[in-house]
């Protein structure tokens, strides 16, 4: 069959976009009516999607491999945790601080990128990832150290105006996460469709040529790292509200970074929706493999499924889905105008 061709900016394209948004909104509403633990799972997925979107900016679009994003995730989470537990802040009000601190940390981690490149830069991020749990343990007075930091449910009560009670905090966080994810996706989309997005990919593809075209590599790399850290930190902050119990060795080790990287490439790096798809994969794949078999067998199956996906879906799940959709609908660039990345 021949696919329908739609031009960007045309009425049909607008229609498609609106239909897509409507479908997403419908899915969210449907999700909200499910059992509480399912709502929790979906919240977790959205939080992962935000975290992976952050990683996507640095690793997917700009080619700066980071194995230290667990640290941003953790810093975001601990900022919220400490503000809520020690200073009694309302959870939502801690988000800006978490995002800001992570942006600063990201910028600082990006600084060595001015001199160090490629896998050597990955070593810098590795150091950050290894350091984070140790630092949390070291500054016990602030973070609760190895014993962990527990945010109690009543401290996570939804704001009064919502009329929601403490036990309903799950659904509140669900909608907060959905909003945060939406905002993240819009920002990422804007950024990557702008000439800065082109500069990011140019930096990834060929640094020397990018510099010769006037791309300030230093600015791009540090800023992208900052943004990337901020977005992942936002996810961390929401995660703190979701899980309530923060422990340095629980959720913020290198294994978290590995989970994020896995999600990014399973979903599809350098694509807008890849991180969302990847988040579903990292939350639900282990869940289903654990259902298939118990204990270590599920680990073997999970590993095998991961490999199978790489073999069967070279461009990530989102890429395959995109190609499948492409059989029915093709979006062609507007005449005299660029097809965007």
């Amino acid at each position: 069959m021949t696919p329908i061709h739609v031009r960007t900016g045309s009425a049909a394209h607008r229609g498609l976009q609106i239909a897509g948004l409507a479908a997403a909104a419908g899915a969210l509403l449907l999700g909200a009516t499910m059992e509480a633990f399912r709502v929790g799972q979906l919240t977790n997925v959205m939080i992962f999607a935000i975290a992976i979107s952050g990683l996507n900016l640095a690793t997917g679009y700009t080619g700066l491999l980071s194995i230290g994003h667990s640290a941003f995730f953790g810093l975001g989470a601990y900022t919220t945790g400490v503000m809520v537990v020690t200073y009694g802040a309302a959870p939502m009000t801690t988000i800006p601080l978490a995002v800001l601190l992570c942006a600063v940390l990201g910028f600082v981690v990006g600084l060595p990128a001015l001199r160090i490149r490629g896998l050597y830069l990955a070593l810098v991020t590795l150091a950050v990832g290894v350091a984070f749990p140790e630092v949390v343990r070291r500054f016990e007075d602030l973070t609760g150290g190895a014993a962990g930091l527990v945010i109690r449910s009543r401290q996570l009560a939804p704001p009064e105006w919502t009329g929601l009670t403490v036990p309903q905090r799950g659904i509140w966080l669900y909608w907060v996460s959905a909003a945060a994810l939406l905002i993240t996706l819009v920002l990422v989309r804007n950024l990557t469709r702008s000439r800065l997005g082109i500069a990011m990919i140019a930096t990834r593809d060929n640094e020397i040529a990018a510099a010769a075209s006037g791309v300030r590599l230093a600015t791009v790399k540090t800023t992208v790292f900052g943004l990337s850290g901020a977005v992942t930190g936002l996810a961390g902050s929401l995660f703190a509200m979701y899980v309530g119990a923060l422990s340095p060795d629980g959720s913020f080790t290198l294994l978290k970074s590995i989970e994020l990287i896995t999600g990014l490439f399973l979903g599809g790096a350098a694509t807008l929706f890849g991180p969302v798809v990847g988040a579903f994969a990292v939350v639900y794949l282990p869940y289903f493999t654990a259902d298939l078999a118990s204990g270590h067998v599920s680990g073997v199956i999970f590993g095998a499924v991961l490999i199978a996906i790489v073999f069967l879906m070279p461009e990530g799940i989102a890429g395959v889905a995109g190609r499948f959709l492409g059989r029915f609908i093709r979006i062609a660039p507007h005449e005299n105008q660029g097809e965007r990345p």
Partner: protein, 264 residues
């Protein structure tokens, strides 16, 4: 953010003075000096390994000369950072293709215009209407350049997988998108048939006329160099061995011995 801009009317000359650069024991450049006058097409020839590409790299600040200097108009390029060279009006192509393979031809060209516009992460993130319309304008300009270079058909194809000769033209398009005063072309005719080389020569002349620019042209295709250059510099072992009109240089004994060979 500091912007180094030249206005549309000033046409600076490129002056290379006594540049030396060594790699370990090899002196890739050894006291080279010459001038490319505004609006001039200057051919740069020499045997393989003479230091031509290295000289390009010194101009675009990928390398820093051990001694000597390069200036563009009044600006000492030693003080300019690599990404600001293009802001001064110097754009280049690469001998061995340095494109962005995952970007489309159009996007590669748009990337070339990067230096001409204010970078603003905040504005880009928020996607303000002004940003978008500017984006469209840049894309429109890039499409014009592609049309000029006969690349419209492949505008939306990723650079990856296009034929070599096409990619060479994409590089040229990217360089032009920067609206340079001076184009540095490193073997643009590589891999082209005779007819294509002739078209390329016409194109370079037309570009000079329409875009009001000069060019420094490294090329082994003597037919091209001699037919379009106003002035030719020949190098060997990092040193200048001849400098003059095409006919003068072609007749120079050392150039024949070192470069052209008896047959030519």
């Amino acid at each position: 953010m500091q912007m180094v801009r030249t206005t549309g009317t000033d046409r600076p000359a490129l002056t290379v003075t006594d540049v030396t650069l060594r790699f370990g024991g090899v002196a890739a450049l050894d006291g080279v000096g010459f001038t490319v006058a505004p609006g001039e097409i200057c051919g740069l020839i020499g045997p393989n390994g003479a230091g031509k590409t290295t000289l390009f790299n010194c101009v675009t600040r990928i390398y820093r000369p051990d001694s000597g200097g390069v200036s563009f108009g009044d600006t000492d390029l030693a003080r300019v950072r690599p990404h600001d060279v293009v802001r001064l009006g110097i754009a280049r192509t690469f001998q061995n293709l340095a494109l962005f393979p995952s970007l489309t031809v159009l996007q590669n060209t748009v990337a070339g215009a990067h230096a001409r516009h204010q970078a603003g992460f905040a504005a880009a993130l928020l996607g303000w209407p002004g940003t978008r319309s500017r984006q469209r304008r840049i894309e429109g300009e890039a499409m014009d350049i592609l049309a000029e270079l006969d690349l419209t058909d492949v505008a939306h194809r990723p650079a990856h997988g296009l034929p070599y000769g096409t990619l060479k033209r994409v590089e040229l398009a990217r360089a032009l998108a920067a609206r340079p005063r001076l184009l540095l072309l490193d073997e643009p005719a590589g891999g082209l048939t005779h007819a294509e080389v002739r078209d390329l020569g016409d194109l370079i002349l037309r570009l000079r006329r329409d875009h009001d620019l000069g060019a420094l042209l490294v090329e082994h295709h003597m037919g091209l160099v001699m037919s379009i250059s106003d002035h030719v510099v020949a190098m060997e072992f990092g040193r200048k061995i001849a400098d003059g009109t095409p006919d003068e240089v072609r007749a120079e004994r050392r150039v024949i011995e070192a470069y052209l060979g008896k047959a030519s």
